[in-house]
């Protein structure tokens, strides 16, 4: 054995430093409380399928029938909830949804085989939270199609079929037809008259 191979003191020191760095790395790791159960690719498949949405008709059936265990979560704020909500719904506003107690409760429901339906004032409001729940593994969570607005309309029997993702127009046709109507008010767009607009209150932005 060569002299320089006799006592690996420096080797040990370097190695220990390396190990300390790695242990420090391990200790500084914060383990996430919530983990994604679906990969982004699986989430894409979920959005493409029509799985996970529940119509008001179906919700009514589930509530009246005794076979299925259903919990309803209203994610609007407390004020809106107080003004009216689906009977039996529990109010957890959107920002509170992922709080520890609520996650525990949802896990409990999932184990007991409950179906959970969440809704907001329209489908958009509940859409994101529903996707988050699905992505973190709550496959029993469904979203109420159309939200509370459409639910009310359904209750008052003033609805047609709810199909939010369909095209309401044949866009190409409409755009072409408008060419003629556009010529009536033959008014070229002047850049000077155009002012950048921020989102205004309900009347302007909420319509569609």
């Amino acid at each position: 054995m060569h002299v320089h191979e006799l006592n690996p003191k420096k080797t040990v020191i370097t190695m220990v430093i390396f190990v300390v760095v790695i242990i420090a790395g391990l200790l500084t790791l914060t383990n996430p409380r919530l983990k994604y159960a679906l990969t982004p690719e699986q989430t894409v498949l979920l959005t493409v399928s029509d799985d996970g949405g529940i119509t008001p008709e179906k919700l009514e059936l589930m509530l009246t029938g005794s076979t299925e265990k259903v919990e309803i979560i209203d994610i609007r704020n407390h004020y809106e909830f107080a003004r009216g909500h689906i009977p039996g719904a529990r109010n957890i506003s959107a920002v509170e949804l992922l709080e520890k107690d609520n996650i525990e409760w949802l896990k409990d429901l999932q184990e007991k085989g409950f179906t959970v339906v969440i809704y907001g004032k329209n489908q958009m409001q509940a859409n994101g939270p529903w996707m988050v729940f699905r992505q973190i593994g709550f496959s029993n969570v469904h979203v109420l199609l159309g939200g509370y607005q459409y639910y009310l309309a359904y209750k008052n029997h003033e609805t047609q079929n709810y199909s939010p993702c369909k095209a309401d127009f044949n866009y190409a046709e409409v755009a072409k037809v408008s060419v003629t109507s556009g010529e009536d008010n033959n008014q070229p767009a002047k850049k000077t008259t155009i002012v950048r607009r921020k989102k205004k209150g309900g009347a302007v932005a909420g319509g569609c």
């Binding site: 060569h2 002299v3 320089h4 191979e5 690996p8 420096k10 080797t11 370097t14 190695m15 390396f18």
Partner: protein, 179 residues
């Protein structure tokens, strides 16, 4: 034997495991900073490309291998990470040699059983074989075998296994060169 004499005969090398760990950490740093490992053969490749491009530009353009490494923007292939790495390697070696007292006048190191001329012929032949082999293997022992395997590339493993394996297979034939 007097310990002093033993120590004098012994070379002033660092512990190989110490060197190994340092090299491993350096490799890790290279991955962390540059996203790739160490390389030695790439610089020679670029040097060859540059020289051929200077001497016979049309020939270099026509050859699929040279043209791969000639930058499209007309800048010199020498202005490259690999070249700077190789220059660093040279001076790093020189520094170490100076520190440990190995930086001496030009000399040939060879086994006492062979002449210096034989050693040089062998070195040249080995160099040519290594040069051709490193291009087929996408890198030499540092680029493909060490960095490749450390980054868990299957190709790196193949090159490393074959390099040492073939070395052992043919070691018997060339034993006179070394022992």
């Amino acid at each position: 034997m007097d310990t002093k004499i033993v120590k004098k005969q012994q070379p002033k090398y660092i512990n190989p495991y110490f060197g190994g760990i340092l090299l491993g950490l350096l490799l890790l740093a290279a991955f962390f900073i540059a996203g790739r490992g160490l390389s030695a053969s790439g610089a020679v490749k670029l040097l060859v490309v540059t020289v051929v491009d200077k001497v016979a530009p049309a020939h270099a353009e026509g050859n699929a291998y040279y043209s791969k490494f000639i930058p499209a923007d007309g800048s010199s292939p020498l202005y490259n990470w690999l070249i700077f790495g190789a220059i660093g390697t040279f001076f790093g070696g020189m520094l170490s040699g100076a520190i440990f007292g190995r930086l001496k006048k030009l000399r040939v190191e060879h086994s006492p059983k062979i002449s210096a001329r034989t050693r040089l012929i062998a070195a040249g032949a080995g160099g040519i074989l290594f040069g051709i082999g490193s291009q087929f293997g996408r890198g030499c022992s540092s680029g493909a075998a060490l960095s490749g395997t450390a980054s868990l590339s299957f190709g790196g493993l193949i090159v490393m296994a074959l390099m040492f394996g073939i070395g052992y297979v043919f070691a018997w034939f060339f034993r006179k060169l070394w022992i």
